[in-house]
Symmetry: C2
Subunit: 119 residues, 2 copies
DNA sequence: AATATACTGAACCATATGGTTCAGTATATA
DNA sequence: TATATACTGAACCATATGGTTCAGTATATT
């Protein structure tokens, strides 16, 4: 069984729970951007955007580098592997669980049919 | 392009950002459970667990039904499809982005080699 | 040298989160 | 009928979140 690093999943799922931050990730996927550029694109103050970038950086999803007076943001090395894996394993659990339930439902339907005939 | 329902992703990613709640989902994958059972398993007050279950329910990941004095919690109908899809599309973006970068790095390496020879 | 740009940090604000306790209500059990 | 069980809701608490403004600092540009 895969071992998940809990605080990491906490941080990355929390980072992904905000639409602005998901938008920033998508944006950075199309090219690096400065804080100013991101702030404008998402109609927010510089300070506000800096905080969002900070959250993404903490989660390892973004890296930044300051050159001159401009801080450039890029996608980080993390590719959401662990997050994808967690969700995938949950989906398998879900499938198993509901396949099992479906069998029971089928059985109940069968029984109902039989009971119907008896009446 | 797939359309994501933003408040839904917000709610489900937020729900997944807590280790206790992820644990509850895994637990319910192995079988239904009452609030009391979950509270005990996760060393928490009934009230505390009820709140977590409420968050999962809001996100559509869990459903509950009260029979007599016991409220039974089950996995909800949502299978994290949208969440998986968002992450998958992000991973594709990431791959494209970094494959492109790798090419540039390769090119720079080549150029360096040539420059080296020239000296 | 003066001005404009890009960010940074502190402080503030309202609301949310993750937990608790305590005082109920409703339902089983003896 | 009395008691135990299972939950519920309100209130409280500390801390986090998502945003702002305002007052800087550092770097470019003119």
């Amino acid at each position: 069984m895969v071992q998940y690093i809990t605080p990491r999943l906490d941080a990355s799922f929390a980072a992904l729970s905000d639409a602005t931050r998901r938008g920033v990730l998508e944006q950075l996927g199309r090219g690096d951007a400065s804080i100013t550029e991101l702030a404008e694109k998402f109609h927010m103050t510089l300070t506000g955007m800096k905080k969002h970038v900070g959250v993404l950086e903490q989660a390892g999803l973004v890296t930044t580098e300051k050159v001159g007076r401009v801080r450039t943001c890029k996608l980080g090395r993390r590719r959401l592997e662990e997050e994808a894996a967690w969700i995938e394993s949950y989906r398998q659990l879900w499938d198993t669980r509901f396949d099992a339930l479906d069998e029971i439902v089928e059985e109940l339907k069968q029984r109902e049919k039989v009971d119907g005939r008896k009446k």
